[in-house]
């Protein structure tokens, strides 16, 4: 009898506990606080060759921060494949990190959710002021006319990486500055039995980065001035077609690249199978794959004609990582201090050197460490000829819809189907219809 009563009591207790947990989950709509001033959770994006590398780079800096402020930072490096989903989940549940890295192209989309702390003048003051940051990097921190949703942390730009040996063998004396030159060089390279240019045809984000630049070079935009999708503009169609034609018509991108989505084109380049690669801050990645720094050269991404600049001479997106504070943080002051620490001149030098990126902080950028030929090209591009991807709330949907359309067009080209202005337009029209009406 006693054991039965015990069991009954146990059952009731457990039921109550379950009911309590079920009710306790509720959404936390309130803002942040400073309830736990001694700890912070930080989600870092995967910047190095692996997650282990990132931990090795970041941990000593976090220890330094703890020594300075007494705040312990719990680090988690989140792989790119999971990062956006994790952020969305954190936003929905209100249970997230205090500080996090975001891809800078997501800024406006995440800003629209209201989950991130807006960086108004007062908050910027706490980390030394907005003027400390480079303008191009600030241009990719949220929608225009709103307080930025994040602060630039690492900046990157696309550049043309070329294999010096293959160029020498093919008798090419300097890297191509225009697309026509690239295609002409491609013929010489193919004659030597190497493939010309790598691409990640099945990687939706990579596709977007490239067609965005091509659109700029054609004087077009994917969105109208008031933020409405405008994918079927004839100039946009021309731009997308020009990119896909690098495989379909000009045959400089091998058809096999149409199914690449796991950075296989970087491996092809590192192994010396392929002469050129359009990539952002590839140095660390190439090194980890065993390619020595002397083996390749780095040049600005080609333009239609002339030299890189603004407008139609754009030759890169503003790529980079931003740092944001989760509005629900229980240590807002500590989080702000941590952002200040990470964007300080000293840390900027350490971190950007480790990741072969460019500091978005003006004073840090002037350091001699960022004057190597590799970084100089990236710095120059960011300063003069890079444009920010559209800062609209529907950016994330845009990447998916148009990026997938380009993927399908590459699949057509690889499968031997004709890629015509009509087929490109049809694909883009379909992408536009998938965009939210608002």
């Amino acid at each position: 009898m006693r054991s039965i009563r015990a069991a009954a009591v146990g059952a009731v207790t457990m039921s109550l506990a379950l009911a309590a947990t079920a009710c306790g989950g509720g959404s936390s709509s309130g803002g942040g606080s400073n309830d736990s001033p001694k700890t912070l959770t930080y989600w870092a994006s995967n910047q190095g060759a692996s997650i282990a590398v990132d931990k090795k780079v970041l941990q000593p800096e976090l220890d330094k921060f703890e020594k300075q402020t007494g705040i312990k930072v719990k680090l988690e490096v989140v792989p790119w494949s999971d990062l956006l989903n994790r952020i969305l989940t954190a936003t929905t549940s209100g249970q997230g990190p205090d500080v996090l890295n975001i891809g800078n192209t997501w800024s406006a989309s995440l800003q629209a959710t209201g989950a991130l702390l807006p960086w108004d003048a007062k908050n910027f003051e706490k980390i030394g002021g907005k003027e400390r940051f480079v303008d191009s990097a600030l241009g990719s921190t949220g929608a225009q006319g709103k307080d930025p949703a994040a602060v630039p942390l690492y900046s990157m730009a696309y550049a043309l990486y070329y294999n010096k040996q293959i160029f020498a063998d093919a008798g090419i004396s300097k890297p191509p500055a225009t697309w026509d030159e690239l295609i002409a060089d491609g013929k010489k390279i193919k004659a030597k039995g190497k493939s010309v240019l790598g691409a990640e045809g099945a990687n939706v984000s990579e596709n977007i980065h490239h067609v965005f630049v091509f659109a700029k070079q054609h004087g077009a935009d994917f969105f109208t001035a008031d933020g409405k999708p405008d994918f079927t503009d004839p100039k946009v169609v021309d731009a997308v077609k020009q990119y896909v034609d690098l495989m379909a018509k000009d045959k400089v991108i091998p058809t096999g690249d149409a199914e690449y989505a796991q950075n296989q084109s970087v491996s092809d380049f590192a192994k010396g199978k392929q002469a050129m690669l359009l990539w952002q801050s590839a140095a660390a990645n190439l090194k980890s794959q065993g390619m020595s720094e002397d083996a390749y050269g780095i040049a600005p991404v080609p333009v239609q004609s002339g030299t890189p600049g603004t407008g139609a001479q754009t030759n890169s997106m503003v790529a980079g990582i931003n740092m944001a504070v989760f509005k629900n943080s229980h240590n807002l002051d500590g989080a702000t201090k941590f952002v200040k620490f990470m964007t300080s001149d000293e840390e900027q030098k350490v971190l950007n050197t480790a990741y072969s990126t460019v500091p978005p902080v003006k004073t840090a950028q002037e350091d001699a460490a960022f004057n190597s030929p590799d970084t100089a090209v990236l710095k120059q591009t960011l300063a003069t000829s890079a444009a920010a991807l559209p800062q609209v709330a529907a950016e994330s949907q845009f990447e998916t819809a148009v990026g997938t359309a380009v993927k399908e067009l590459f699949a057509d080209a690889a499968g031997g189907r004709a890629v015509t202005a009509d087929s490109v337009k049809a694909a883009l029209e379909k992408a536009q219809q998938q965009m939210p009406a608002a």
């Binding site: 079920a22 709509s29 989903n85 099945a202 994330s396 993927k407 399908e408 690889a414």
Partner: protein
Amino acid sequence: MTTTALKEPVRDTSPGAAREPRRRTGRIRRVGLPYLLLLPALLLELLVHLVPMAIGIVMSFKELTQFYIRDWGSAPWSGFGNYKVSVDFDAPVGEALLHSFFVTVGFTLLSVALCWLIGTAAAVFMQDTFRGRGLLRALFLVPYALPVYAAVITWVFMFQHDNGLVNHVLHDQLHLTDKPSFWLIGDNSFYALLTVSVWKGWPFAFLIVMAGLQNIPRELYEAAALDGAGMWQQIRRITLPSLRPVNQVLVLVLFLWTFNDFNTPYVLFGKAAPEAADLISVHIYQASFVTWNFGTGSAMSVLLLLFLLVVTGLYLLFTSRGRRAADV
């Protein structure tokens, strides 16, 4: 418990005013206890299964986009708006969903049929004892035992255009194709998906049918053989009818698993599946997570749930009616 049961009849013999209610509480206690003990499990079931399902249904009536996910109580109600968008087959979203639905139906029918056929054939051939039977049986179960992700990633490598094993065999060695084919993009992706799905699914059919075959008495076959029935007739007249109840469950389970399969297409193709292999589970994932429109995604999920409920209901109705008729 036994002690109470013994004592109570003794007490009942002495009359008294307080007896009745006490006996009632006693009965409530006796009858209620099992329910009380079930309560935690029931609540857990609610928590893990039914509550999320109910929330999903509620979500499908809301306009739950990126602007509201932070505080989704504040998302406006959209009535049947999400459903209208999903089933408006003239508009792009509905059209894409319908396309994905047909692809999934075709894929599921083919995959289930092939899994069943291969699984049953293998099980029947494995009935007779021969050297190495145990080894073969174990080998056949390997695809089922492997972790899905590892297995499918291996297939991704094999299906690669430039250095994949499939193209190496089909093109380089057997010269069946003019040039290496693409398996992970374009129209061929459907066959790639089907291959992996069947490879992964048939061992389960094999396992279940094999277990079912153990229950068929050997005498039936012996008697049939005496009467002059060949192997094919034995399979048709004895094996298949005896396997009927097993097959009924097997086909249903395979159907539901295949129709809802998310891992295989996701690992094979990533977030954006090629049109020819755009299975509905990934399609819905894309409609909600990738485009941040959880309302529409939920509405599509509810529609899928309804469809599967109807199919399962009809299937059970017809097969059990058939069985009852056969039993008579």
